[in-house]
């Protein structure tokens, strides 16, 4: 019996198309509910996915499994100073962390600041950071050209530097910078290499607007303080994501020991888990995506109820037609299929238009506001499948009601 129903499907689709054409305005308005629902889901999920992908990329560009050790507050004579107000970390701390902490893969101390740099008749203001060759490993940052400075350069405080792409663009244009000499705070430095492009940081800073020099050179020639051998921060790369908390613990213990901090005293430094912070942000955007999608789904649900409403009206209006069909030999499922297919036609056409609307909304949003949006195939398939489900779900009840009509009552219905 189902088989004979199957044969009827092409004709039934034709019948339902005709029924929908009769009330064009009504069909269009009913579809609008689904169009808005599907469009909203796709656009919202695209915005959310775009945001979390952007953050994921930023995390990757920052370097993975990253800890940062910063100077903490110190107290002198009972007065607690602000965090970072006193340099408490030294190059020695940095070397000790690498040597003593088993969970640590690489370290990179930093000491730098903003300054003016000059090449020929051009000048540029940027951040110059003194560090060690470990920086390129800690931040997963390969060179685009040239070669990195070495541990030997650090030891002998040579005047060499690595340039970020933004600095190269501003000082050299299309010229090859390698081997050229630039002046930082009037000290000549030889350019050894150019860093590959990293793009924006999580805070929206241009990560390529940077110059790396050996940390010792920075201490002696550029940003030296009255405390020799001090550095501003130490960046640490743990061996793996699982090692992050162990590394944090090991570093804390080691530095407390090195800084002679007693049991009850506060540390004069803090260790921050950057990766964890970023992952928390990524998670919150994922929750956000889910939330946006859920809110948009409500409109899809409302659209589905709209379909049900129209189908119920349609069943009432066409009671006589149902009676004629029954008198001629339409069985229960013939009638049900007719109305289910009609509802399905409404919801699927609405779904397809909704997908187009959703994708274009996402594209318009990203071109106007500059948000990264990602329309995934999965969200399209899901939206389409869901609108089909809505058609069947909300079409079934009216179809069921229609199939229950008594033939003679339906035939006599005025």
């Amino acid at each position: 019996m189902i088989l004979t129903n199957m044969i009827n499907i092409p004709s039934t689709i034709k019948i339902s198309f005709r029924a929908l054409q009769v009330n064009k305005m009504r069909s269009a308005l009913t579809m609008l509910g689904i169009i808005i629902g599907v469009g909203a889901v796709i656009a919202m999920v695209a915005v959310g996915t775009g945001a979390s992908r952007q953050i994921a990329e930023q995390i990757a560009s920052m370097g993975s499994n990253l800890l940062i050790v910063m100077p903490g507050s110190t107290s002198s004579g009972g007065v607690r100073m602000g965090a970072g107000s006193q340099p408490t970390l030294s190059l020695g701390d940095s070397e000790a962390i690498l040597k003593e902490c088993s969970s640590v893969e690489e370290v990179a101390p930093t000491l730098g600041g903003g300054t003016q740099i000059v090449f020929g008749h051009l000048n540029w203001s940027t951040t110059v950071t003194g560090t060690t060759p470990g920086m390129l490993i800690v931040r997963d940052w390969p060179l685009a050209s040239g070669r990195p400075f070495t541990q030997q350069d650090v030891k002998s405080a040579t005047k060499v530097c690595l340039l970020g792409q933004t600095v190269v663009d501003n000082l050299f244009g299309s010229q090859n910078p390698i081997g050229q000499t630039i002046r930082i705070k009037n000290v000549p430095f030889t350019v050894m290499g150019v860093l590959s492009i990293k793009g924006q940081s999580t805070q929206g800073q241009d990560q390529d607007d940077v110059i790396y020099v050996p940390v010792t050179t920075s201490q002696k020639k550029l940003f030296g303080t009255q405390f020799p051998g001090m550095v501003r921060t130490i960046m640490v790369k743990a061996r793996s994501a699982e090692d992050l908390s162990t590394a944090e613990q090991q570093i804390t213990e080691l530095l407390r020991q090195r800084h002679h901090i007693g049991q009850k005293q506060d540390s004069d430094f803090t260790v921050r888990n950057l990766t964890q912070i970023m992952q928390a942000r990524e998670q919150s955007t994922q929750v956000m995506t889910l939330l946006l999608g859920a809110i948009a789904s409500v409109s899809l649900l409302v659209g589905g109820i709209g379909i049900m409403n129209i189908m119920l009206v349609s069943v009432t209006e066409r009671t006589r037609e149902i009676g004629i069909r029954m008198a001629i030999g339409a069985k229960t499922w013939d009638i049900r299929l007719q109305f289910i297919i009609e509802a399905l036609t409404l919801s699927l056409i609405g779904g397809v238009i909704g997908i187009i609307v959703g994708v274009s909304t996402a594209m318009i949003l990203s071109s106007i506001s500059g948000w990264a949006t990602v329309v995934s195939l999965l969200s399209i398939l899901l939206a389409f499948g869901f609108s089909g489900f809505i058609g069947i779900f909300f079409g079934f009840y009216p179809a069921y009601m229609a199939s229950l009509l008594n033939p003679i009552d339906a035939l006599r219905y005025e």
Binding site: I7, I328, G329, T332, I408
Partner: protein, 238 residues
Amino acid sequence: MSLIEVREISKTYHLGDIDLDVLKSVTTTIDQGEFVAVMGPSGSGKSTFMNILGCLDQPSNGAYLLEGVDVGSLSRDYLAEIRNKKIGFVFQGFNLLSRTSAIENVELPLLYDGIHARERHERARMALKNVGLEGREDHRPNQLSGGQQQRVAIARALVNEVPIILADEPTGNLDTKTSIEIMELFVKLNLDSHLTVILVTHEPDIAAYSKRIIKFIDGRIVSDECGEDKNIDRFINS
């Protein structure tokens, strides 16, 4: 075995507190190839009788045997199948689907019989040709005259090669000339194809085409007469 046998069927409608007995213990048989007119004033139960014969309605009591099978025990879908394969309906108001072409209306019974599109189309075309509507296949009901619409309805009733035609006041909405045409079509079908025709009418002129007249008054059969067979003469003379 008779084609149609009804045994003491009755039908009671419950309208609020009042019970309305529309049919009261009706018993009769109709054989294959008969041409029967069911007459009676309005409210006499003749239409209810027809609806029960057409499996559109069920009697409250009694048994209806169609080709020896008790219809009362059958499921909805089985009844639908009987209506599809055994009975062709012709209504006073034509009951064609509007906004649907003549040929698609005629195809409907075949559609519900699970017949493929090509055969459906071919058979519907033939059925329309048999009622003299060749070339009107794609006209919609509102583009056809009353007589033509009733012909489409007859084609639809016949297309699945049913043995029984049930016509409820088939000429009620038609003028005299068209009524004669339609009745002659029924006579021809009855003679040529040995089709059982049962028609409900209150017009003696129309009933005169039949070989047997069953009269209903107040829910009972009051007379059941076989007249002399005028149809053959009429047919030969014409």
